[in-house]
Symmetry: C2
Subunit: 154 residues, 2 copies
């Protein structure tokens, strides 16, 4: 865990919105010179605050119009059960996110499909056949808003 000043937080917030910004552009928007912004970037990366950069793909455009969140309970909850389950779920390409959680569910999955018929196929042939799967709850995504998170207050 590291300490950030307000300038660092501004840098991270700006990069969160658009990671294509370089040290020069960042410096201009913050009133810093290019090398000064560059040195802060280096430090933030060395400290591990920035893990990497990813493209945000537009799944709608790519033909995947349906996103469904599944909440799963396992019937068998031993250590082997978890490992078997995780190995099997990792082999399903339509699963975008696997979250191991504590609470009402054991696992939460984010699943994308081309349409509802495609999703039904994934659900019946892939999800329901996972080892140890018990109860399955589903929520269909209507719209989603992603926000920069608590860096503003930090």
């Amino acid at each position: 865990m590291i300490e950030l000043d307000e300038t660092d937080r501004r840098i991270l917030r700006a990069l969160w919105q658009d990671a294509t910004l370089g040290a020069g552009a960042l410096g201009r928007s913050l009133g810093l010179s290019q090398p000064a912004a560059w040195r802060r970037l280096q430090r933030l990366r060395a400290q591990g605050a920035i893990r990497g950069r990813q493209v945000a793909l537009d799944l709608e455009t790519l033909g995947f119009g349906v996103t469904v969140f599944l909440g799963l309970r396992l019937a068998t909850r031993g250590r082997l059960g978890l490992e078997d389950f995780e190995r099997a779920v990792s082999a399903i390409p339509e699963v975008q996110t696997v979250e191991h959680v504590l609470g009402l569910y054991d696992y939460r999955l984010r699943v994308v499909a081309r349409d509802l018929a495609d999703f039904e196929r994934v659900l019946r042939r892939r999800i329901m056949t996972l080892p140890g799967v018990g109860q399955v709850d589903a929520n269909v995504l209507l719209s989603e808003e992603r926000r920069p998170g608590p860096l503003g207050t930090g």
Copy 2:
């Protein structure tokens, strides 16, 4: 919705892992020349397949060690109820994601906090006071795996 060939899919998969790759590096890893890879990138962006680039922040390192998923049902479900709720939830910095869903819940929130005590504060003072909030279910994140999604199968 657009058509992709296998090379396009490879490009998107590579960028999903590391968006810092430029046209040159992409071309080398795919057996294309730098201008050829560059033109494909341009096309993919023009078609809207690539929405943008984001940094992946390491929330642990930044001091936010607790992530909780909330499933919410609203007590009042009219149009005004939804708008009031969305406006209010957008003002909570600890809320990273707001998903409007169809199913067991009306909304799903991803909430980050420094620790469980901090999370309790957010839950009591911010979440439970949201307009129209009914039932609230919680799941605490233990571990998470993100995967490239269904681009491999196309």
